[in-house]
Symmetry: C2
Subunit: 364 residues, 2 copies
C-alpha cells in the first residue's frame, strides 16, 4: 500500500478530528498530493475515516496508532489535526522521522513549545507549515497588492478584526477547544489565531511592540477562554484590535485602514462562496462639499478561484516538499517564521490577561 | 424682519463655522423651520454667510454678536456650531433667553459643563438636542428594528466602530478641532463622539460599566488628540471598541454582533449617498458541512430617504419645539439624556488616557 506517483507527496493524517475531513478532501483534490495513511488511537476509527471520506482502502493504510503512520515509508508528510496539547510530542516525533509537517492551528500551547517543534523540523530539514488556509487564497494576494500601493492605500494606520461563531451547547460542553488539557487557549487559539495572523499579514509581519488584552474576556469553569480581545500597538503609531468569541454569531470582519485607502471584508477566514471571494476597497475618498455624501464610493472586488483555498494550501506545501525531496529546493522559512510570530502575539494576549490586562512587550 | 409662518420654528445660527452651511441648508429644507437670524463676531461675516448660503437678507437678520441673536424675539431656537469651549457660555445664555438649543457635537468639554447647560435648559423649559444627524436617518430605525429582534439578532455581544478621516496639513495646523483652547477633545470629541454614540445606540443606551482607552493614542504638540481608541465593557459580558483618527483615510465602520445575527455598515455617520443608505445583515449563518463556505449569506438592505438626515433632524427638533410653544407637548428628555451618556463615555476615555490607560468606571 501507499504507492503514489513520482512527484506526488504522500500524506499521513494523524488523528481523525472533524477538520481532518476537510483536509482529506483537499489532499485528494491537490494534483501533487495524496493521502496514503490515516492513524488514530483505534484502527477501526481510521478505517471508518477512510471509508467515510471516500478514500481507497487499497491505497490508504489504516493504523491504530500515530507511531505507525510516522514509521510508514510511504508517508512523506503528515497533517496533524490533533488537540493543541499533543502537537509538541507528535510534531517533534514526525520531524525526527523525517516527515514534513502541515500542522493545524493553533500550532502550539506556547512559543516555547513551538520553538522545540521548529528546531526539530530544522534539524531534520523538513518543511513546516501551519494550516491557515486563507493565506493561500488568491484574494489574499490581490488584497496585499492594493495594501502595498503607496498611492491607493498609503501608510497603514489601523487594523481591526473580529472572528466569532455561535457554538452550540454541545460544543461548549464537549469540544476539545473548551478543554484545558487539550486546547487550553480556547477561542484565543482557535479564532484569535486568525485575527492575529490577519493583523500580522496586513503589517507585513512586523511584530507589534506591545499587546494588551481587552478587559472582560469570558472563560468557562475550567478557565478556558470563550471570548477575548486585544489591542496591539507599534512604535510608529500603527494600532490594531481584534475580538474573538465562541458566543456570538458567525462573523469574520477585517478592516485595514491606511492614510489613503480602506479595505474591508466580511469573510476573511472562509470566503462565503468557495469559487469566488469578495472584498471592498476605497481610495482617496472624501465628503461632498456640504458633507452630505461621499465623493468616491468603495469598489467591490471579486476574486475567482477554481481551486478552494485549502487545496491551494496543500498544493503549495506539497510543492515545497517535492522540491526538498528532489534536492531542487530547500525548506521555505517564511512559513515557520509567520507561525512563530502569530504564536508570539497569541502568547502575549494570554500573558496580558494573566497579568490583569497589563501591556506585554513582544521580544522576537 | 424675522417674520415666519405660524408653526414654523425660527432659527438663529450662532457662529458661521463651515458646518453651519450644511445646517442652514437643512433648516431651509425642513418644512417646519426657517433661518431668521445669523450672528457672528462681525456683522459683515454674518451678511456674507446669508448671501453665500442663499438666505434672504429681507427675512434673515445679520448680527455682529451672538447676544443680539439671543435677544431677537423672532428667534425661537438657536443652532450652535461654535467651538466646544464656547458651548457652556452660549448654550446657557441661550437657554436663559428662552431659546431652544440644537447644539453641535461634542456638546461640551466635559459632563460637568454639559450638566450646567442641561440644567439651564431644564429650568427654562427649552428643548435640547445635539446635532448627531445619523440618529434621524430612517436607516437607523430600520437597523434598530433588526437589532431588537430576538430571533434574528438575539442578544448583543459586541460592537466595533471606526471613524477616521485624513485631515490635510492645513486642518492639522489650523482647524479649531486641533486647538486646545477651542476643541480640546480633538479627534475624540469630533469623531469618537459618533463612535461612542453608535455603541450606546446599539446597547439601547445602557452605559458601560467600564471604559479603558487603548494604548498609543497620538496627539499634536499641544496635546490635542489626533487619534485614539477605547474598549468598553458591561458587567453582563457585552464588549465594544472604537477607534477614531484624523490621520487615516475616510472610514465609518460599524459592526454589531449578536448571538444570532451580525450587522455591518461602512458609512454609519454620513451615508455615501444622500437619498439611499445601505447596511448588511446576516442571521443564523453557519458554515457548510466541510466548512468550505457559508450556508446563509448576508442580505444587503437599502433604505431610501427622500429627505436628508440633517433635514429630518431639524424637522424633529422643530416638531418638539413647536409642541412646547403651543403647549401641546413638553420637552423631550430622551435627547439630553443620550447626549449626556455620550459625553460620559467620551470623558471616561479622556480620563483613562490621562490615568495611563487604566479602566475608568462610569457612574451615571
Amino acid at each position: 500500500m501507499g504507492v503514489v506517483e513520482e512527484g506526488v507527496v504522500g500524506f499521513g493524517i494523524i488523528g481523525c478530528a472533524s477538520i481532518a475531513r476537510k483536509l482529506s478532501r483537499a489532499i485528494g483534490l491537490a494534483p501533487n498530493a495524496a493521502v496514503v495513511a490515516v492513524g488514530s488511537r483505534s484502527v477501526d476509527k481510521s478505517k471508518r475515516f477512510i471509508s467515510d471520506n471516500g478514500l481507497n482502502p487499497a491505497t490508504v493504510s489504516a493504523y491504530g496508532s500515530y507511531d505507525e503512520v510516522l514509521s510508514d515509508p510511504a508517508v512523506d508528510a503528515v497533517y496533524v489535526p490533533l488537540p493543541t496539547s499533543l502537537h509538541l510530542k507528535w510534531a517533534v516525533a514526525a520531524a525526527e522521522k523525517g516527515k514534513h509537517i502541515l500542522l493545524e492551528k493553533p500550532v502550539a500551547v506556547c512559543a516555547e513549545d513551538l520553538d522545540r517543534i521548529l528546531a526539530a523540523c530544522s534539524a531534520a530539514g523538513v518543511q513546516f507549515m501551519d494550516s491557515t488556509m486563507w493565506m493561500h487564497h488568491p484574494r489574499t494576494a490581490a488584497m496585499k497588492q492594493l495594501l502595498s500601493d503607496p498611492d491607493r492605500f498609503g501608510q497603514l494606520r489601523s487594523v481591526d478584526s473580529v472572528f466569532t461563531f455561535a457554538a452550540d451547547p454541545e460544543f461548549l460542553e464537549k469540544d476539545i477547544r473548551v478543554k484545558p488539557d487539550l486546547d487550553a487557549l480556547g477561542a484565543l487559539g482557535d479564532l484569535g489565531w486568525y485575527c492575529a495572523r490577519a493583523i500580522l499579514w496586513a503589517v507585513d509581519y512586523d511584530l507589534p511592540h506591545s499587546v494588551t488584552a481587552l478587559r472582560a474576556p469570558t472563560a468557562n469553569s475550567a478557565a478556558v477562554l470563550l471570548s477575548c480581545g486585544a489591542s496591539l500597538t507599534w512604535k510608529d503609531g500603527r494600532v490594531a484590535t481584534f475580538h474573538c468569541s465562541f458566543l456570538a454569531h458567525l462573523t469574520m470582519e477585517l478592516a485595514v485602514v491606511g492614510s489613503r485607502g480602506t479595505l474591508h471584508l466580511a469573510d476573511f477566514v472562509i470566503p462565503m462562496e468557495e469559487s469566488s471571494a469578495a472584498f471592498s476597497f476605497n481610495s482617496a475618498s472624501g465628503l461632498s462639499e456640504l458633507a452630505t455624501g461621499w465623493v468616491e464610493m468603495p469598489s467591490q472586488h471579486f476574486v475567482r478561484n477554481e481551486t478552494p483555498q485549502e487545496v491551494l494550501m496543500v498544493a503549495e506545501f506539497s510543492r515545497l516538499v517535492a522540491g526538498i525531496r528532489s534536492g531542487t529546493g530547500g525548506s521555505e522559512t517564511k512559513w515557520p517564521e509567520i507561525s512563530r510570530k502569530t504564536q508570539l502575539v497569541i502568547d502575549a494576549v494570554k500573558s496580558s490577561i494573566d497579568l490583569g490586562f497589563q501591556p506585554v512587550e513582544i521580544s522576537p
